[in-house]
C-alpha cells in the first residue's frame, strides 16, 4: 500500500514538473520553429505552430547579408579577453584576501563587494565620454575594459570563497619547505583551484557573452558590435524580419546552452557557490 502511494505521488510530481517545464520551455521552442519559417509564413494570422515549409533562409540571411559571423567573433574576443584578464588578476587578488590578515583587508573586501553591486547604468555615460577621449570608442578594447567592471569583482569574490576551502595546512607545509608566498600561489593553490577557476570563468564568460548595455553604448560599427547588440538592432528596423531575428536568437543562445549542458556541474557551482554560503 505504502509503496503504491509513493509511486503515485512521484508520478504526480513528475507530471506537474513536466507541465511546468513545457510552459517554461515553450518560448524557446517557438523561436526555433519561427526561425525555420519563411518570413511570409511567420506573419500569418492566426500563427500556425509548425512551419508549412521548413526553410533555412532566415539563417542564410543572418550569415549572408547580415554578417553575423563578424558579431560572433567580436563577442568571442570581448568575452574571452575580459574573462582571461579577470581570472588572472582576480585569482591573484583573491589569494591575497583569502590567505593574509592585514590592516586594510576589511576595506578591500568591502570595496570588492561594492564594485560587485555597482549600478552599471551610472557608468555607461562616463565610459562613453572616456572612450571617446581615449579614442577607444567603437573598439573591442573599450568593451573589454568595460566588461572588467563586472567580471573582475565577481571572479575575485568567487575565487576567494574557493581558496578559503583549500586547507591552510598545505600552505604551512610549503612554508616549512622554504616556499615563498608567491611560489605557494603558483605551485599549490593554482593547481588545486582549477575547478574553481573553471566554474567562475564559465559563469563570468556567460555574463560577458550576454551583456547588452555597454555593448550598445560603446560600439557603433560592425567592427566591434557584439552579438546581442546586433540582434537588438534588428528589432529597431522599419520592416522587422522576424524569422531572421528568431534565427539570430537561436544562434546566440545555442552555444550557451551547449556549454551549459556539458559543464552544468561546474556552472551550477558558479551559480550557487557564493550564495549558499551565506
Amino acid at each position: 500500500m505504502q509503496r503504491k502511494k509513493e509511486i503515485m505521488v512521484t508520478t504526480l510530481r513528475t507530471v506537474m514538473a513536466s507541465l511546468l517545464l513545457g510552459l517554461v520551455l515553450f518560448p524557446f521552442l517557438w523561436i526555433v520553429l519561427t526561425s525555420f519559417k519563411p518570413l511570409a509564413e511567420a506573419m500569418t494570422v492566426p500563427p500556425k505552430v509548425l512551419p508549412q515549409l521548413w526553410t533555412v533562409s532566415a539563417y542564410e540571411r543572418l550569415f549572408g547579408p547580415r554578417n553575423f559571423n563578424i558579431y560572433i567573433v567580436n563577442s568571442l574576443i570581448v568575452a574571452c579577453s575580459s574573462v582571461l584578464l579577470s581570472t588572472m588578476l582576480g585569482g591573484w587578488t583573491a589569494y591575497g584576501l583569502s590567505r593574509f590578515g592585514f590592516k586594510a583587508k576589511p576595506h578591500v573586501n568591502a570595496f570588492i563587494l561594492i564594485c560587485l553591486s555597482f549600478p552599471g547604468p551610472l557608468l555607461v555615460i562616463p565610459f562613453f565620454q572616456l572612450m571617446l577621449k581615449l579614442r577607444l570608442f567603437d573598439t573591442v578594447l573599450a568593451l573589454i575594459l568595460a566588461y572588467l567592471t563586472f567580471t573582475l569583482p565577481f571572479i575575485t569574490w568567487m575565487l576567494k570563497a574557493y581558496f578559503d576551502t583549500i586547507p591552510r595546512e598545505l600552505d604551512e607545509a610549503a612554508i616549512i619547505d622554504g616556499c615563498s608566498q608567491y611560489a605557494i600561489f603558483w605551485r599549490i593553490i593554482l593547481p588545486l583551484a582549477k575547478p574553481g577557476y573553471v566554474a567562475t570563468g564559465i559563469y563570468a564568460f556567460l555574463n560577458a557573452w550576454n551583456e547588452y548595455m555597454f555593448g550598445l553604448t560603446l560600439t557603433s560599427s560592425e567592427a566591434s558590435k557584439t552579438l546581442p547588440v546586433a540582434l537588438g538592432s534588428l528589432l529597431g528596423e522599419f520592416m522587422t524580419d522576424w524569422s531572421c531575428i528568431m534565427a539570430g536568437a537561436v544562434v546566440a543562445s545555442l552555444p550557451v546552452i551547449v556549454v551549459f549542458f556539458f559543464m552544468q556541474k561546474q556552472l551550477i557551482y558558479g551559480l550557487t557557490g557564493g550564495a549558499v554560503k551565506g
Binding site: 518560448p27 500563427p47 588578476l89 547604468p121 562616463p126 548595455m213 546581442p228 537588438g232 550564495a275
Partner: protein, 292 residues
Amino acid sequence: MVKNQVHFSLSSPKAAPYVFVMPAVLILAALIIYPTVLALQNSLQTANGFGFDSYFKIFRDSLVWQTLLNTCIFTVISVIGHYLLGLAIALLTNDRIYGKSFFRVCFLIPWMFPAVVPGIIWRWMLHGQFGIVNSFLQHLGLIDSYIPWLASPNTALIMVILANIWRGFPLYVATLLAGLQTIPRAMYDAAEVDGANWFSTFWYVTLPQLKGVSIVMLLTDTIWQFNNFTMVQTMTMGGPGHSSEVLPTLIYKNAFNYNDYALASALGILLLLVMLIPGFIYVSHSLKSDKA
C-alpha cells in the same frame, strides 16, 4: 634582519598581501570610482559653470517620479515572482520525482539566454498581430479581439515584468536547491515523528533553513533588477509613452537620444542613491557571513 630592511622587498611578509591585492583594487578604482567621479562632475555641469540645476530639474519632473515608481514596481514584483516560482520548482524537483537531474538542468535554461533574447522572444510572442499569446488566448475564449500587449500603456509594464520573471527565476531554482540539500534529513524525520503536516514542516523546518540563501539571493536580485536595462529596452524601450519607463532606460534616453549628459548623470546618481540601501545591506551581510 638588516638584509630585509635594505631592500624593502616584495617578499617581506608585510608587503606580500598588498602585492596580491593592489592590482585588482587599482584597476577597479580606475574603472568604477573614477567614472563615478566623472558622472558626479557631469551632473553638476550647468550652462554657466557648476550648480545643482540638473538635480532641481529631476526632482521637479513628474516623469522622474513616475519612472522611480515604475522601477520599484518592476523590481519588487520581479524579485517576488522569481522567488516564489524558484522556490516552488526547487521544492518540486528536490525529492521523489522521476528524471530529477533532467528537470533540474532544464529548468535553468531560460537563465542561459543572452540578455536580449528573452526580450526578443516575448516581444514576438506578445506581438499584437502575429503573436502566439493572442491566438492562444482567443482559442481558449479568454479574449474576443487581439490585444497589443506591449503597445498599450495599461499592459506594457506588467508584460515586461512577466517576461522578466520568466528569465530570472532559474537562478533561484539552482541556489534554493543547493540550499535544500544542506538541510539535515534528521530534521524532517523529527518533524514526521512529531506528526507535522506538509505545511508546518515547510514553514518551521524548510523555510528557516533556507533563510541564509534566501537573504543573499533576494538582496543580489534586488540590486540586479534595479539596474535591469536590457529587458525594458528590448521589449518596449520604456514606452508606449513612458508607461514602462525605468531609471536605466530613462538614463539611456537622456544621454544617447537627447545628448543631455548632465541630466542623465544626475539620474545615474539618483539610481546610485536609491541603490545605497540594498547595497549597504548586501555588503554588510556578505562581510558578516564571510567572517563566520
